[in-house]
Amino acid sequence: MADGARAGRFTRSQAFSGYVMISPPFLYAVLMLGAPLVAVIVLSFLTDGSGGQRIIPEFTTANYAEAWADPLNRLLWMRSVFVSLMVTLATVILAFPIAYYISFVVRPEKKSLWLFLITIPFWTSYLIRVFLWKVILGYSGVVNSALLGLGIIDEPLQWINYNVGAVILTLAHAYAPFAILPIFVALEKIDRSLLEAGQDLGESKAMTFLRVTLPLAMPGVIGATLIVFIPTVGDYVTPQLVGGPEGRLIANMIQLQFLKLDNYPLGSAISVTTMVIVGVISLLFLLANRRFLRGQR
């Protein structure tokens, strides 16, 4: 009887209702995200089969040995991390002033309009947007036509298309709202009286910005950095469309292993390694910036 009463109390409790509510989306995430990620890790330690049998269930670390020994993979990993870091740096630095402008200069009733405008390009067809950068940067594209028309150059520039730079520019464009919004949210949270206090105590505007605004905005900057860095490492479309052979990234290799070469264990080993690289860099970044995150939340 006592057990029944206790169980009855539990089913009427906050926590129980919470678990009931969360279980459909949580179970979906476990089945469609947790389980698949575990499957990829398991698969990366199995042996690749041929013919009718795709995978032979024999434990091996050969996939990792093969993936890490291949100089092409190592080049692609280094290039992917380099491109992502560059994209993140460019996106966050370019995004900060506009987030600052919307938070501190734009009148409150106009703020949502600005945020709406910034998110519109993000929701328009990703493939076509990426392709249009090719048109803008291409041999007879917008930039070259304009420069030729103005007489600044005599023949079209070729170094602006089909290279790592084009990939960086295109990705910086694609991920702009992801960087602006977290920084904007952090700036909005800053108590404006702190800034007045800084200036009342004799700090210049620039010093107030450096010593009050910037440190308080850091959680947003850190959030922006991670939310841009992590997905760009795995971007597939942009390198494929505007990168040319010099701009291929690790995601293109993963696609090749899975959809073309049909070597799932090797593809899994490359995927797991990529996740570990991304995870380690993100953790190091968080550790380096932990003093800004302390006492927040």
Binding site: G18, I22, I98, S112, T124, I128
Partner: protein, 268 residues
């Protein structure tokens, strides 16, 4: 309005953001077959070409079926998650919500590969169902982000008043909570629809031979002759998503106004 570098910079930044969107109609209405300057006069023939393109129509049909299903399913999952996150306290809440939101910050190619592996393992045929399952995973975090805003601004005392007046949990949810969060739900449906309609990588990996709209576009980008038609298609898609976004934004704001909260603006 005094001159400031920050304002000039912000407007230039908007121009940068909108540059590709502005170029799209220029090439869509251009007479010439080559996507380059100079433009060669006005023409509607690329739009006309969209009308009798059988494989395109099939792709649009597939994409619409997928997007509608995904919008409903991920909004439903989002409602559960947002309600749990904003109303109840329980052990492990942060970690559970964290796992559900994880696809937002995962490289999409990894998600796609992981699902592909599992679908092949359980012998789920690659195609529409596989794409729908994958898209729900991708869209749900966005829905939760929007719905959290709607549920967060709910006044708990309204709900308690309903209980005191003898309503049950279900009837309170239907009569009090649902009407108040309805704008958020509509906005979430629209956003999930837009994301699913435009999603490429997941569909490319788990779609098998099923062609969705982005897969069709991707296949056409390789053939220069087909490009003007794609530009026309893109123009229509951009107009459609701006229309849907404006509706979503309207409902989101109305929802914020209805619950009496201050508008902090923006999706995500």
């Amino acid at each position: 309005m005094k001159f400031s570098w920050l304002r000039v910079y912000s407007w230039l930044y908007l121009v940068f953001l909108f540059a590709p969107v502005f170029l799209l109609p220029l090439f869509a209405f251009n007479e010439g077959t080559i996507i380059a300057f100079p433009l060669q006069g006005f023409s509607l023939r690329w739009f006309a070409a969209l009308l009798d393109n059988q494989s395109l129509h099939e792709a649009v049909g597939n994409s619409l079926t997928i997007a509608v299903t995904v919008a409903v399913a991920s909004t439903a999952l989002g409602i559960f998650a947002a309600r749990a996150a904003t109303r109840y306290d329980f052990r492990g809440k942060g970690a559970m919500i964290g796992l559900i939101m994880l696809p937002l910050v995962m490289p999409e190619v990894i998600l796609a590969v992981a699902l592909l592996v599992v679908f092949l393992q359980i012998a789920l045929p690659l195609g529409m169902v596989a794409i729908i399952l994958g898209h729900i995973l991708v869209c749900t975090p966005f829905c939760i982000a929007i719905l959290n805003g709607a549920f967060l601004s709910l006044d708990k005392s309204l709900e308690e008043a309903a209980y005191d007046l003898g309503e049950t949990r279900m009837s309170t949810f239907r009569l009090i909570i649902l009407p108040l969060v309805m704008p958020g739900i509509i906005s979430s449906l629209l956003i999930a629809f837009i994301i699913s309609l435009d999603e490429f990588i997941m569909a490319f990996f788990v779609g098998g031979t099923t062609v969705t709209l982005p897969i069709y576009i991707f296949s056409q980008l390789r053939f220069p002759a087909g490009l003007p038609v794609i530009m026309a298609l893109g123009t229509i898609l951009v107009c459609l998503s701006i229309l849907l976004l404006s509706i979503a934004e309207y409902f989101r704001r109305r929802g914020v106004a209805r619950t009496g909260a201050k508008d902090t603006g923006g999706f995500l």
